[in-house]
């Protein structure tokens, strides 16, 4: 065993120097993980396969606003100096397209083969606190009473390497939703990037027995009081600079008690029903199944793909569209996300990541919508009246 490497336990901490950061990749690959995480592609920080630390967005950051996202250079070489981008980890755990089974014709009958789940385990590198919370929200959806076999297999094998946020974006509001910016639980290894004072380094905390095994592969040095103090400061500074906020007191009741609020019509006039918010959302889980048949009719496949409550077709029951207006579809989304999600899953469906605000082409901001619904009716006339 090389010098500096020792057994680690849950809750233990250590310092990983910037120069030693590549050892995290070798440790993960040595354990057979497929490492995925943030990387720069097409003008954004997306999630993709990572070969080494050079694939991370070194020295990049993002500037986000409602309906707008731009990459920018930082003045340093931070590895995690940005906020969440257009992708979320759900694309790995709950893939956008997934074949569920294949059926082959056999004489007078047919034989069904369930899709195997034998892909190598994922190591998710760079999971933010709001994203850890989002994964746990989807766990309640896919691992509840009717577990989804594919999700269960992928989730069970995945390793979560969390990263505390060193800055907040203009559309971030995790503090309002109680999910960040510091990591509390739900990770295997938790990292806080310390750029200064002192050398560029990472405060590493072990969050699980699997994380402990991994940490034992890393050349960690003991974390001193100053490191812990700096880590705490970084998170406090981030928490104090959230770009958005949402009052959550009585939010479920606010949603379910205001189904006739005039604000729904106002927001519907702006809503494109394009579904970007729901597909960018790390907790939205709606899907549809479709059966495909071969031209020669000897086989059929069932595929699941991401769908959205904003799609007219998604609201079809017995050939009737039950939510035919844009208003009813926007209201369904927000009242479910912030209200009835509690009844269904025991938590809010919103983790405060701000993706739905940034990636809405016309910049609809749910924090603004909630504030408008919270305002006493009649306090402010709606712009342009109520056509």
């Amino acid at each position: 065993m090389p010098e500096g490497i020792s057994r680690q336990g849950v809750g233990d901490t250590g310092i990983l120097s910037r120069n030693d950061f590549p050892s995290l990749f070798s440790a993960l690959k040595g354990r057979g993980y497929r490492v995925v995480g943030p990387t720069v592609r097409d003008g954004a920080i997306v999630y993709g396969d990572l070969e080494g630390d050079a694939d991370l967005p070194v020295g990049w950051t993002d500037r986000q606003e409602a309906g707008r996202y731009r990459l920018e250079r930082r003045g340093d070489d931070a590895l995690f100096g940005y906020n969440v981008g257009p992708h979320s980890w759900k694309k790995y755990l709950f893939p956008p397209h997934e074949r569920l089974w294949t059926a082959h014709r056999k004489e007078e009958s047919f034989e069904v083969t369930i899709e195997p789940n034998e892909a190598p385990p994922f190591a998710f590198l760079g999971v933010r606190a709001c994203e850890v919370a989002a994964i746990e929200v989807q766990d309640r959806v896919f691992l509840g009473k009717y577990p989804d076999p594919g999700y269960r297999a992928r989730r069970g094998r995945s390793l979560v390497i969390g990263v505390a946020c060193g800055q907040a974006g203009a559309t971030c509001f995790c503090t309002s939703m109680g999910t960040g910016p510091g990591l509390s639980e739900g990770y295997d290894l938790g990292i806080t990037e310390i750029l200064s004072p002192g050398p560029h380094r990472f405060l590493v905390r072990v969050g699980s027995p699997r994380g402990a095994e991994l940490a034992s592969d890393l050349p960690l040095t003991p974390a001193v009081t100053a490191d812990h103090g700096r880590g705490k400061e970084i998170i406090e500074r981030t928490a104090a600079s959230m770009g958005r906020s949402m009052t959550t007191d009585g939010l479920r009741e606010l949603m379910v008690d205001n189904l006739a609020h005039p604000r729904w019509e106002i927001v519907a006039r702006r809503c494109l029903s394009c579904a970007n918010c729901t597909l960018a959302c790390p907790t939205c889980f709606c899907s549809t199944n479709e059966e495909m048949t071969a031209l020669d009719a000897t086989s059929a496949e069932r595929w699941r793909r991401w769908d959205s409550c904003f799609n007219l077709g998604f609201t079809e029951l017995h050939s009737a569209k039950v939510r035919s207006s844009g208003m009813s579809r926007y209201r369904q989304w927000l009242t479910h996300k912030l209200g009835t999600w509690h009844d269904q899953f025991g938590v809010s469906g919103c983790v405060g990541c701000g993706r739905c605000i940034t990636w809405c082409p016309v910049g609809i901001d749910l924090t603004e919508e909630v504030a408008a619904i919270r305002e006493p009716q009649g306090a402010r006339p709606p712009p342009g009246g109520l056509a």
Binding site: G67, R270, L272, S273, L279, T293, L295, D296, D307
Partner: protein
């Protein structure tokens, strides 16, 4: 249906028709390459001038119709095709929305004839280009300029299995997001019609950093005004927006209404 081999061995008879169009959509059938033999094995190609000179008289179980109606002769011909066909599927922007040539609907046909032809009096044409469903009942429509090979094969497979084709009428944005494309509108400031356009192309243009130009026509719940406001903020003038909406699907009602809402004064 049963797998009984006593059933009639007759394969469904397929016809492919061309009206006012560029042939690109029917070529999609020949582009099937890997699947072409399976298609030829599953159906009896009874009429397809692009692929074979052999023609067989009707009736046909399935007709794929490409092109729009721009002449009185085609208006009569499509009724004959309909009468000889059990299931009629229109393919492409021309057949489903009148195509590029529907731009004539916005101007004066005599002006166009004089501008293009040395002897305009020899040209016999209607004043409008209209989709097939304006003339005869249509069983299913495949959008696009050109159509997607994947959707064509899906529609043929669905026809053969007597099921509904999986052809969503949602926005292109869903295909972008499922594919993992970075939104060109939000991240690059590139004008894009994706949010108001029907999916089906697989979000090809945004995947190559181009904005969607709406060749699949309007999605099923178009709310154009807020997008048009956003695109004007990106620097597009009302006449530029009008041109964007009036390319392949100018006569699709939702795009037509959106273009008219700009008040830019028509095609100039």
């Amino acid at each position: 249906m049963s797998g009984n081999s006593e059933m009639s061995p007759r394969r469904p008879r397929l016809a492919v028709w061309k009206l006012a169009s560029c042939d690109g959509c029917q070529l999609t059938l020949l582009d099937c390459e890997d699947e072409l033999l399976a298609v030829a094995g599953a159906v009896d190609i009874a009429y397809f001038r692009e692929a074979t000179s052999a023609a067989v008289d009707g009736p046909y179980d399935l007709s794929l119709v490409e092109g729009s109606i721009t002449t009185a002769a085609d208006a009569r011909r499509i009724r004959e095709v309909r009468a000889a066909t059990t299931t009629l599927v229109t393919i492409g922007a021309c057949a489903t929305a009148g195509g590029v040539q529907a731009l004539r609907n916005l101007g004066d046909i005599d002006d166009f004839k004089k501008a293009v032809y040395a002897r305009p009096e020899f040209i016999s044409t209607l004043a409008t280009s209209t989709p097939i469903r304006d003339h005869v009942p249509v069983d299913f429509e495949l959008r696009g300029c050109p159509i997607s090979k994947r959707q064509l094969l899906e529609t043929l497979s669905a026809f053969l299995a007597r099921r509904t084709p999986n052809v969503p009428t949602e926005s292109v944005c869903l295909e972008c997001k499922r594919r993992g494309n970075v939104c060109v509108l939000v991240a690059h400031g590139t004008p894009c019609l994706g949010p108001v356009t029907q999916a089906g192309c697989g979000a090809i243009c945004p995947a190559f950093h181009r904005g969607c130009y709406g060749c699949f026509g309007p999605q099923d719940t178009v709310n154009a005004p807020p997008l048009l406001t956003e695109l004007q903020q990106l620097g597009l003038s009302p006449p530029q927006l009008e041109r964007l909406l009036r390319t392949f699907n100018a006569e699709a009602p939702a795009f037509r209404a959106a273009a008219e809402s700009l008040g830019a004064g028509g095609e100039k």
